[in-house]
């Protein structure tokens, strides 16, 4: 901290009182929803990711037509769509926490949060549409 280098110590130039600075801090009252959604999607992903891993082994070396036939079976279509929804939601929530922890500059943080959430939404939609196109 360069503030400690000189004997003068840090100086604060701000048109706000100590009380004004402290007010409004603390819980934003929306953290529980994020925390809970992260756990709910995590629990959902336990069976779904195992299903996904097994389906990949099952599809190994198969042609595109065989893959479409497999994904087109109703349970597989639904399970793949569930996987896509839970996976990208869980991913968006997780990366959000990482960005909020390490990116301190407001403009960069907001820009990267928007970019990551947009990318998650885009990829989720691309996956879902592809699964539906294969199935129907």
């Amino acid at each position: 901290m360069s503030n400690l280098d000189n004997n003068a110590g840090p100086s604060v130039h701000m048109m706000r009182s100590q009380l004004g600075r402290a007010r409004g801090l603390g819980s934003a009252k929306i953290g529980v929803q994020h925390w809970w959604a992260q756990r709910v999607t995590a629990v959902a992903l336990l069976p779904l990711s195992l299903y996904f891993v097994l389906s990949v082994i099952r599809l190994e070396g198969h042609s595109r037509a065989q893959m479409a036939e497999f994904i087109g079976r109703p349970w597989n279509t639904v399970l793949y769509l569930c996987l896509i929804a839970a996976l990208f939601y869980h991913l968006a929530l997780g990366v959000q926490v990482v960005i909020e922890d390490y990116v301190h500059k407001d403009s960069t943080r907001i820009a990267s949060l928007l970019a990551v959430k947009g990318a998650c939404f885009f990829c989720a939609l691309a996956c879902a549409v592809s699964v539906l196109k294969l199935a129907f």
């Binding site: 400690l4 479409a68 991913l91």
Partner: protein, 145 residues
Amino acid sequence: MKNVHEALMVGRNSEGKLVSRPLSPHLQVYKPQMSSMTSIFHRATGCALGLGTLILTYWLVAAAAGDHAFAVAQAIITSWLGLLVLFGFTVALFYHFCNGIRHLAWDAGKGFELPEMHRNGNIVLVATAVLTVLFWVLGFVVWLA
């Protein structure tokens, strides 16, 4: 300083002088421990899996796009580099899966005692290795069959 966040890192000492509050030392000061390393790996594998979803997206979109696009995707994924990336992906997936169960147990208030935490941390590492080997053995068996 004019930034509110910076100003919050300032306090007064017993003489009433403004001083910067002390910060805890950075990561490299600490000895690697089961608790910190498994936590860091959880976050790192989570980020890696995030990049891995791009492969998943590419694979599904290519399959939906047509025979040619799918053949190209399969060729890329089953190349040596593709398989190497896929191997890393499975390690990250199984680690995040196993350690995720550990995190859910902690959320339920279980497994906080140090000896227990060390034990289930080791279980996570062994389970990751076992599941990864199992996946690839099964994968090769199905491939050859």
